[in-house]
């Protein structure tokens, strides 16, 4: 992988959690590079460190040791305000429970992230409408997101994640709350986004059905990478 293609890079990243003198491992000695046009699937059972890895990548969690690079910048050296703006402009999120803002309509949920990305007001409504059309949700645009079905909510969530034309999408168990057909539709959308738009998508899941859509799979257990597929040696990914 060429350096200018790399979006996320982790070097010897370890995260320990401490509570009441008890130390537990979040992730241990993770080395990883993820680049444009790639859908990386983080597989592993609950508590294996998938979510910890996602939060470390976004800078929401600081590693105990090691370095996390986002766009070649060490995120521990980025000011909190700049990191927040970087997330608003370059990163999209998809959550297991969708986490739409229930009191807002579908279109307002999308508009909100476009505001965070500081896009022009005029462009915000057009962009949000286009995305809803693209996902076949135009009739639901002004419906409260609380009244949408699970599948509709996740489609709005995907539309929200890509609204700012994010270079990096982080999806945490995006299919866990969906039926098989809806789940596959979501992963197809993310796969297309990575491939056709040359973006980087990292999906954390324990759903093995997603493996067919992944360009690369990393299996985590107890916070450690125990298997990387297809390449076991991540340095040979080029």
């Amino acid at each position: 992988m060429k350096d200018n293609q790399v979006i996320v890079s982790l070097e010897g990243v370890t995260k320990f959690y401490r509570s009441n003198s008890h130390k537990s491992t979040g992730v241990k000695d993770i080395n990883l590079k993820v680049g444009k046009g790639e859908l990386l699937l983080l597989l592993g059972p609950s508590g294996s460190g998938k979510t910890t890895l996602l939060t470390l990548i976004t800078g929401l969690l600081e590693p105990t040791s090691g370095k996390v690079y986002l766009y070649s910048k060490n995120i521990s050296e980025i000011k909190a305000k700049d990191l927040q703006q970087l997330r608003a402009e370059k990163v999209g999120f998809i959550f297991q429970t969708f986490l739409l803002i229930d009191s807002l309509t579908a279109i307002q949920n999308i508009e909100l992230v476009l505001r965070f990305a500081k896009l022009k007001k005029k462009y915000i409504r057009t962009r949000a409408s286009d995305l809803l059309n693209q996902f076949g949700l135009e009739k639901l645009a002004f419906k409260s997101s609380a009244s949408l079905s699970q599948g509709e909510k996740q489609r709005v969530a995907v539309a929200r994640a890509i609204a700012n034309d994010a270079d990096l999408i982080l999806a945490d168990e995006p299919t866990a709350s969906l039926e098989t057909k809806q789940g596959m539709m979501v992963i197809e959308l993310l796969h297309d986004y990575a491939r056709k738009r040359n973006k980087c998508v990292i999906v954390a899941s324990h759903d093995l059905r997603l493996k067919d859509y992944a360009d690369r799979i990393i299996y985590l257990q107890d916070g450690e990478i125990i298997e990387a597929y297809p390449e076991l040696n991540i340095d040979n990914i080029d």
């Binding site: 929401l60 608003a88 990163v91 959550f95 803002i101 307002q108 909100l112 992230v113």
Partner: protein, 368 residues
């Protein structure tokens, strides 16, 4: 957009909050209105008399909360000054009025009805007194005590016929009543006793010069110009009354702040997940704070509008029950109260915003 959505999502709570904040604003408006009403009412008598000089007993500065006892010889000496045109004696007496079985207190003002000075500033009904068996009552006192024109009342076993009602004679805690100075003196039992002399000067006479002469020649007295005397009385009224009103009005502002910060904090806690999601998605601290500030301002504006709409009917109701409570509100007062309410709203939102800091973006990843 979102701030409006948040507050309208709980309509009952929103209505109660607006109602509570509106009541705080009404209370502040009412207290300031009372202050203005009392301020005007207390000194209207002095203003309307428009004397050139006021002569009182030495060391007495005002008639609202001071004792001044002068004799008629001092009045005669004042009259001897070549610059003086007229001297009008006035005697103030705190008197108990008997109306059937009820007793109430008035500030009985004895003056010479043949003279223009010392009498009621303005009449709203009836006529002025002609002799010592007649009395003019303050309108608020008359309404409160149920007196009508031609009714009779008793002061120290003397019967008076009510012939008129005056305005500008309500000092909130006490109201003025007017009869002749001779009758007032006979009630207290000291002929020639006077509280103060209202002095009018001849045209073109130097007021300061006459003031100096009177101070020098009339022992045991002090002389004030109209402006000085008015200022003394306003100061006396303000120093005794204003701090209490300000303390209660401040309490209203504090209650407003507490209510609003509590409601905003609850709202933030209820929307904790939404705030965490927005933090994760890259919402700036300014954006999140602005949501709370906008909610506070929206509530204050709605409460302010409700307060202004409700204020006058409420005041009308209070006046009907207690006519002596006189209020006077100016546009500037309303503006001032609204500004205070907005400032308190901003303070409330600042307090509530501290809650947002304790919401971590990370929480959303563990939301299952």
């Amino acid at each position: 957009m979102y701030s409006f959505v948040i507050i309208k999502s709980q309509p009952v709570r929103l209505s109660l909050t607006i109602g509570a904040v509106a009541l705080c604003i009404i209370m502040m408006l009412f207290l300031l209105g009372i202050y203005k009403g009392v301020a005007d009412g207390s000194v209207e008598y002095i203003k309307k008399n428009n004397a050139d000089l006021w002569v009182l007993q030495k060391n007495c500065t005002n008639i609202l909360r001071g004792t001044s006892l002068l004799s008629s010889w001092q009045g005669n000496l004042i009259m001897e000054d070549p610059g003086v045109e007229s001297v009008s004696p006035v005697l103030f007496l705190l008197s108990s009025v008997k109306n059937g079985k009820n007793h109430s207190t008035i500030f009985l003002t004895g003056y010479n009805p043949e003279n223009r000075y010392g009498g009621p500033p303005a009449l709203v009904k009836g006529r002025n007194i002609k002799n010592g068996s007649e009395i003019v009552l303050d309108i608020a006192f008359a309404l409160k005590s149920g007196f009508r024109i031609n009714d009779s009342l008793t002061i120290q076993d003397e019967t008076f016929k009510v012939v008129g009602f005056s305005k500008g004679t309500n000092a909130f805690v006490i109201q003025y009543a007017f009869t002749t100075i001779d009758k007032t003196r006979s009630l207290i039992g000291f002929p020639g006793l006077t509280t103060c002399y209202i002095v009018k000067l001849k045209d073109g006479v130097n007021r300061e010069s006459v003031k100096r002469d009177l101070m020098k020649n009339i022992s045991g007295s002090t002389v004030y110009t109209q402006e000085e005397f008015l200022s003394n009385n306003i100061h006396e009224m303000q120093s005794g009354f204003l701090p209490v009103l300000y303390a209660v009005a401040s309490l209203g502002a504090v209650v407003l702040t507490v209510i609003l910060s509590l409601i905003l904090s609850i709202s933030i806690l209820e929307k904790k997940k939404d705030f965490a999601v927005m933090k994760t998605l890259g919402a700036s601290a300014e954006f999140l704070s602005s949501l709370v500030v906008k909610q506070a301002v929206l509530i204050i504006l709605a409460a302010g509008a409700a307060a202004i709409i409700l204020y006058y009917p409420i005041v009308f109701g209070i006046h009907s029950l207690s006519p002596e409570v006189s209020t006077a509100n100016t546009f500037l007062q309303v503006l001032f109260v609204m500004l205070v309410a907005i400032c308190m709203g901003l303070l409330s939102s600042f307090i509530a915003i501290q809650r947002i800091r304790k919401i971590y973006a990370l929480e959303v990843f563990y939301e299952r």
